[in-house]
């Protein structure tokens, strides 16, 4: 049985890319909620029933070829920091870490299936870059393979879920976007409000709740019924493209009319990353956000962008604690974080004329 540490160490590529478009877009994700017809939903089932459900779900997943060589983690046998690291890695949700049963993850970390989260099964596929259409093909096949005719489904209202907000397609399609331009220009709230009005949810993704550390936002569909999976994907891709255009405009504007301001910010961030001795999580996200922006403006070599994205995950508390026993202490973590970032940026130079 693999440990969480071995599982995280194995991550060769950062989720693997699915789309060409990585400017502004970090990753795309689709999640499907599925339930077994003849069992209570996890919140209403007792422990014995939940165990029963988990056994049925696991036997389904054991036969799934997309999970070949993957790992199962039993949530109740994980340490708190291991659960946290899996959360940070987008493999599980906070809900699952609090009260779920199991998670199955593929070796490439592109697929995870949560058992007894809010629903019996939460299937999720994740890739770098923009690529919801390709992800729908992948997850659609997985869904078909798992369907033994025992899913809770009704022809009139679709897949039945514990919460009516997921009923119908049971699908949440989301794109994770890096929007420093809109944040600096103070247009982000306006953008979020406008998207909310058209059935699109926007949330901060790093850190707790809806706070947006590192200027990273997750854009996803609000409705799951009344539109098809294709409708949802087309809508979210369209919205993401529109937001991208606004972000481009904001960036151009900032680099044109506030050139000294933004270049100074980037150079200082680079300086801190290169020579800090300790740095907190929230501050490092802000610094890395500026480095990602710089890489997309040709100020840093673009080849380092994947590394930047990766460190945004790996310098978080759970990851640090999985990789070192000493990291249980916050001040030690800050020093470790600084060391990792110092090393990474030591041979990355800034080029400005």
């Amino acid at each position: 049985m693999k440990s969480v540490k071995q599982f995280l160490l194995n991550s060769g590529e950062f989720f693997g890319d699915i789309g060409q478009q990585k400017d502004i877009v970090l990753s795309s994700r689709i999640r499907l909620a599925r339930n077994l017809a003849n069992h209570k939903f996890p919140n209403w089932a007792n422990d014995a029933e939940r165990d029963n459900i988990a056994e049925v779900a696991k036997s389904k997943l054991n036969g799934l070829k997309q999970l070949n060589g993957g790992v199962f983690f039993k949530i109740s046998s994980l340490k708190d920091y291991e659960k946290l690291a899996l959360c940070e890695h987008y493999m599980i949700s906070k809900d699952l870490s609090l009260s779920g049963s199991w998670v199955a993850c593929s070796v490439d970390q592109a697929l995870s299936v949560m058992i007894n989260e809010e629903d019996h099964l939460r299937i999720q596929v994740l890739r770098g870059g923009m690529g919801l259409k390709a992800l729908w093909k992948i997850i659609g096949t997985i869904d078909d393979d798992l369907d033994g005719g025992d899913f809770a489904f009704d022809e009139k209202i679709g897949y039945l879920t514990a919460c009516p907000t997921n009923i119908g397609t049971g699908m949440r399609a989301s794109v994770m976007m890096h929007l420093p331009g809109l944040v600096i220009n103070k247009q982000i709230q306006y953008t979020i409000d406008a998207l909310n009005k058209v059935g699109v949810t926007v949330r901060g993704t790093l850190g707790e709740g809806t706070e947006a550390f590192g200027n990273i936002f997750q854009v996803s569909n609000q409705h799951t019924l009344g539109l098809s999976e294709q409708d949802i994907i087309v809508k979210i891709e369209h919205v993401a493209k529109t937001v991208m255009e606004h972000e481009e405009v904001a960036r151009d504007q900032i680099f044109k009319s506030s050139k000294a301001f933004i270049l100074d910010k980037i150079c200082r961030a680079h300086g801190i990353l290169r020579s800090c001795y300790r740095v907190g999580g929230a501050e490092s996200f802000e610094l890395l956000s500026l480095m990602r922006l710089a890489s997309e403006r040709g100020i840093l070599p673009i080849s380092y962008r994947n590394g930047i994205d990766r460190y945004m995950l790996e310098i978080q508390k759970g990851h640090l604690m999985v990789f070192s026993d000493d990291a249980a202490i916050s001040e030690v973590r800050d020093v470790m974080r600084a060391k990792i970032l110092r090393k990474f940026f030591s041979d990355i130079d800034i080029s400005i004329d």
């Binding site: 939903f41 009516p164 539109l227």
Partner: protein, 167 residues
């Protein structure tokens, strides 16, 4: 009358206009629900409706008009439980408490019409259509009729559904 009943979603037969908190609300009821709520006698109608929606938005009306004792015979989950957690107890709850759930879904979702994929597995006994082939045929027929009748919005929706289910 072209509107749906606020309680159950069936075509409405009765229409009441109501002013609540300075805004005008339209309430539609089917003949069945109208009878249930004492609407058949035109004189008592306004009073009983008022009682049901006093101070509340029409969209929240179902909260006042369903008994919290209403429960699912399969899992024992009740409406009172739903109001506490926002989750239901089992998949049968949706059918057992259909009127309430469909109203709730109407408020939360784009519509109550399922337009997503048809499960690849043919074993779904709950399907009204006997498996995929029949569904495809009936959708194709509906598409033809919609085009004939120049209901292009409907036609587009049916076409999307065909694409979603059969590629």
């Amino acid at each position: 009358m072209n509107c749906k009943c606020h309680f159950c979603g069936k075509p409405a037969a009765v229409h009441v206009t109501q002013v609540i908190n300075d805004s005008m609300q339209n309430v539609y009821l089917c003949s069945n629900c109208a009878q249930k709520h004492g609407m058949f006698d035109p004189d008592s109608s306004h009073l009983s409706i008022l009682k049901n929606i006093s101070g509340a938005l029409v969209s929240k009306m179902q909260a006042f008009s369903f008994s919290p004792i209403l429960s699912c015979s399969k899992c024992g989950f009740s409406l009172a439980d739903y109001k506490e957690t926002g989750l239901v107890g089992c998949s049968a709850c949706y059918l057992e408490m259909y009127d309430f759930m469909i109203k709730t879904i109407e408020n939360l979702q784009k519509s109550t019409e399922y337009l997503g994929k048809v499960p690849s597995n043919m074993n779904y006994k709950s399907l009204n259509h006997n498996g995929k082939a029949d569904l495809r045929e009936s959708l194709e027929e509906a598409l033809r009729v919609a085009i004939d009748e120049e209901r292009y919005e409907d036609a587009a929706r049916i076409r999307d559904r065909l694409r979603a289910s059969f590629g």
